[in-house]
């Protein structure tokens, strides 16, 4: 097959997602306010209670606000990934998923385009958030902001694939609130986003074990290290492998002869 049509398809899907994002200012605002509230209110309040002693990749004793920024970056991507899968359930009910899927391109490619599009939207959100954090005084090395880009792409694909996979199980929008509660909150709270793992271990060994196994922890650590121009190979490897597995399952889920499309049909009569 010639290459150009494939690129046109990619450009079209990504362009549509960005356009829609620009039109939904309230969504952008919500995506930004959420982590900022955590940063300005939650972290400021906990600053007294939770100083974070020197721990990798930080070189000095750091303020709690500094610690949670990478976790909040992960949170932005997690919410965005879930939101875009929610919009896929919505799209499926509304039929625009059908518009995407009747394209002659193979389904795996269309889903990859869709995932890349939602990931890029989350990357935009992350950089705006980091700019505000910078202005607030939480400043990482300048090159670190470049280093995190690949980490953001991997994380975006990870949570996006998870969302896509979930969207194959959820039939209607109403069921999605439950998924949000059962996926977003445990993933976020049972990770190293808010507290370092060693701190969690002091509190509860069980929670520590769960947090250590949580792939979101690995994604957050990958981002944290990258932001300080460091490479956490273990976190990267686990994140990439988890992403590939989730992606494979999600694509399988959208296979016309196997996945949810076959089980549930597209609605209608």
């Amino acid at each position: 097959m010639r290459l150009m049509p494939w690129l046109h398809c990619l450009r079209g899907v990504v362009g549509r997602e960005l356009l829609r994002f620009l039109h939904q200012r309230s969504r952008f605002l919500a995506a930004l306010v959420r982590p900022l509230v955590w940063l300005f209110v939650f972290a400021a309040g906990f600053r007294m209670a939770l100083g974070v002693a020197m721990t990798e990749p930080y070189q000095t004793y750091i303020l709690y606000e500094v610690y949670i920024v990478p976790g909040l970056v992960g949170m932005i991507q997690l919410f965005n990934g879930m939101q875009s899968s929610l919009s896929m359930v919505y799209d499926r009910e509304m039929g625009s998923m059908r518009v995407l899927l009747v394209s002659p391109f193979p389904r795996w490619y269309l889903l990859l385009c869709k995932l890349l599009a939602s990931t890029l939207v989350s990357v935009v959100q992350v950089y705006v958030f980091l700019a505000i954090a910078w202005w607030y005084g939480i400043q990482a090395p300048p090159l670190g902001y470049l280093w995190i880009l690949p980490a953001l792409l991997v994380t975006g694909f990870m949570v996006g694939s998870l969302g896509l996979l979930l969207s194959t199980f959820v039939r209607q929008l109403e069921n999605f609130a439950g998924i949000m509660n059962f996926v977003i909150f445990p993933m976020f709270f049972l990770s190293s986003a808010l507290y370092p793992l060693w701190r969690i271990r002091e509190g509860s060994y069980l929670v520590y074990q769960i947090a250590a196994l949580n792939p979101f922890t690995q994604a957050v650590e990958m981002i944290r290290f990258a932001l300080y121009e460091r490479v956490n190979l273990e976190a990267i490897l686990i994140s990439v492998v988890v992403t590939l597995v989730l992606l494979g399952l999600a694509i399988l889920g959208y296979n016309p002869s196997r996945g949810m499309m076959a089980r549930k049909g597209g609605g209608g009569d």
Binding site: M1, R2, M4, P5, W6, H8, C9, R11, G12, V13, G15, R16, L19, R20, H23, Q24, M94, G95, S96, R98, V99, L100, L101, V102, S103, P104, F105, P106, L110, P256, S257, R258, M261, A262, G265, G266, G267, G268, D269
Partner: protein
Amino acid sequence: MSGPLASESGALPRRGEGDLALQVSDLSFAYGDTPVLEAVSLAIPAGEFAVLLGPNGAGKTTLFSLITRLHDRRRGEIRIGGFDVRRQAVQAHARIGVVFQQPTLDLDLSVAQNLAYHGALHGMAPRQARARAEAQLARVGLAEQRRTRVRQLSGGQRRRVEIARGLLHAPRLLLLDEPTVGLDIASRRDLVEHAHRLCREEGVAVLWATHLIDEVRPGDRVLVLHRGRLLADDRAEELIARLGVDTLGEAFDRLVAEGEAPCA
């Protein structure tokens, strides 16, 4: 003229079947244990207007979902312009245009942006997509509204945009799934007329699903689908004559009543 993917290399259509825009052979499908379509066979040549007539729940949307391969755990064969939708999915898909039952335009994007998105999904370069969008919009009388947000259009206008979108990549077959739902009488008439014109002037085959008998015009081919089975496949007048009734409505009632009678 056709979309850039229509000419992708691959096996050629079976000899002699290229003239058939749609060919469905012995198609059966079930959700779990519930049969939805049973041994449906039909063929629509290029340039023909065929009405798929059936009450709600007859299996019309399912048939469309199988043709567009939204799902495909089925028995039987479906070919578009001679290409098998399963084995030659790229070529087959490139030849189908669809107007879905629910509206599927992005309300917050402009008409042109919606069409550009569709063009990209068919692998078109922006310039090519723009030129075709302009031509199709002119055809449905919406050239002026190119930059208008879809939200500001009336229901009838939105449907026409969807038809323009369905034809953007110059398909051989246009599927319309109850496209007149929610439209006023004048818009409905315009839409039916427009679809007929497409058949006449462009040689596009149209499969028009509806439960509204008054959308059938004299000369249309009528396929009556009821409970997943094809009960009739004939010209409207011939169907009326064959059953010895006065109107298509009566013919339809008769067929449905016969279809429901217990098998001897």
